[in-house]
Amino acid sequence: MFKTFIVGILLGVAVAAAALHYFPAVNQSREQSLIIVHPNRGNSETFHVNIPMDRVMTGAPSQKEPLPVGLEWPVDPRFADTRAELFKIRNGKDAVVGVASRIAANDVSSGEIVEWVLHLPARGSAYVIMQAEPLEDGYRTGNLAAGTREFSPLVGRVSEQWVADTSGAEDAPVGRIELTTAFVARKVEEE
């Protein structure tokens, strides 16, 4: 019986080690990446933010109705020209796939800036620096400045556009911020 107990101990150690090795401690939920391949024009992927339902935070000075309720934006004058927003971002199937921050600011050192960080937990993060001035047709374009994990080896462009809702449906959003990414591998770009 003592021998059986010893075998049990060894078996317990082996089972615990195997379980920790083979069963993932974390399993991120994934949505299908909806990437469109264009003939001779690389590929693109479109994300969007439904306004107002996907807005998590709007941080800006002197707001009458801060979002979320109870937000206390710092009163320090150095943040007077800073607007920081947090959103949930959705893919082409309208499923939430990540969160994003957008910072728009203006100061002597940086001038006017508009930046995004798109954070997709199962894929990585993308840091996008936009042109401060929007184009005539309402677009604002920018470049992928850095990426992590899946976005790490990529370079490319991102466009931001406000699309007002025209469906007239009762539960429809007011509109959406559409972010279209056009990324290629850095190696391909260099060739």
Partner: protein, 233 residues
Amino acid sequence: MKYLISLVVGMVVGAAAFLALLYYNPMTSQNKLSPLSVSDNKVITYNYSAVATDALVFTNDGKSTVAPYPSKVQQLWEPTVRLTDTMATVLRDSRNQPVAIGIKFSSRSESTRILNGEAIIDSAWHIYAPGQGSLFVEQRENYWGYLREIVVPAYRSSGDSWRGNWNGIITSGPGALGTARVIGGSGEFADLETDGVESLSAKAYSVKHGPVAVDGTLAVELPAPISDPTPDP
């Protein structure tokens, strides 16, 4: 029957002994010395409180120990983001002056390996410092030491809390020396590519509320400008 009971009891004892070995393994202790401490370059530090109620906004799936703040903030309950925390906070300099707005995304990582003492969080900071510029910080954080020396003792404590002094580096990559990757976006930081290290200093933790007195510091190395070599006379 007694052999079966003996085998089962043996397995339970074996599994418990293995887990205890993992927990007390001294080889997986947290790094307490920052790789930037030996740098000759200037290092800027951003300090923040890691307590949710001290942030501008903190949100998660709403079911975790740490409750979202403010209470009416939208929660990240969708399956793809429910393992993610998002925090917006004011970052302060070494004189405790507010100098930047920092937004941090932290997602539990699939590269977590309990066997190796790695409880990994993939995180990204989006920082804007008026008058200085903007930064993006990518890092892999290892919370094993934090869990082992603060969270587990808090659960084992009869008061459901932990008090003490704990300092630890949580950044464990992706840099070769266990540093974070820092990318500059605008202003003085434009085109900057350098290293960073984030550390935590904990004094109190509650099982019910999570961190009660925990401060974070993000240190960013600023490489010295490359000067032209002095020509030979």
